[in-house]
Symmetry: C2
Subunit: 120 residues, 2 copies
DNA sequence: CGGGATCCAGGATGATACTG
DNA sequence: CAGTATCATCCTGGATCCCG
């Protein structure tokens, strides 16, 4: 281990952050929450996520101060989620990542085909 | 489901890409490989990764055309990994993400403390 | 050096039912 | 609406041993 590689050290606090947000659902939630959304609205947009996993993901992001949870007052229960200010800064990079996946998907799938063909 | 939300649909190819790279080790490998590195060099820099998981991660990235695997000729076995050109475009956003974790770690840990204090 | 093969435990996840 | 609780299952990941 090179001690100058702080971000890669297991005991570096930033690694703990990466452990938290560097997963598929967290990234997609952060992208969806460009606009504040209610629980079921988020769930509907993230095709395939279960309510259990979405709840866990939101709790994790809330714990890390990246998402704000607000109980709406009204006759029926309603909860709105939104991004906190510290995480809004990441929206640019995230958008680039999403755009990149769309722009490179064909090249990637071609690579997958070639890779899978080798000694099938 | 809003059909305009292509990137969030389970059957959208880009989701498959996110499934592949949106995880902790993949992101760190892509960051480490700014400079081409040999297997054990990568392993040493990524504190805590096991050789098995690193191998799997590299294979996955190679399959998706993001990492190039090159067997070096010499008396002993040597393998060098490097980034392919399509993924180099992501280095900017990745660096921002890494810098962000370092810059916001204190605020985040403060949020964690507050969150954990609630009704301990 | 750079892995592959195997075994195994623990955590993540899906399905389902229930609730303030 | 927005969750919690429980259970069965699956899969990841760690540990270990071996190999060209």
């Amino acid at each position: 281990m090179d001690t100058t590689d702080l971000v890669y050290r297991a005991d570096c606090p930033s690694r703990i952050v990466l452990d938290q947000i560097a997963d598929k659902w967290s990234m997609m939630v952060l992208e969806v929450l460009r606009e504040p959304q209610r629980f079921n609205a988020i769930k509907r947009r993230l095709d395939g996520v279960t309510q259990r996993v979405l709840t866990q993901t939101l709790r994790k992001l809330e714990r890390n101060g990246m998402v704000h949870r607000k109980v709406l007052d009204g006759r029926v229960l309603g909860v709105e989620y939104s991004l906190t200010h510290i995480v809004k800064y990441l929206q640019g990079p995230f958008s680039i990542l999403f755009d990149w996946t769309l722009g490179n998907i064909e090249a990637i799938q071609e690579c997958q085909r070639k890779y899978d063909e080798q000694d099938e």
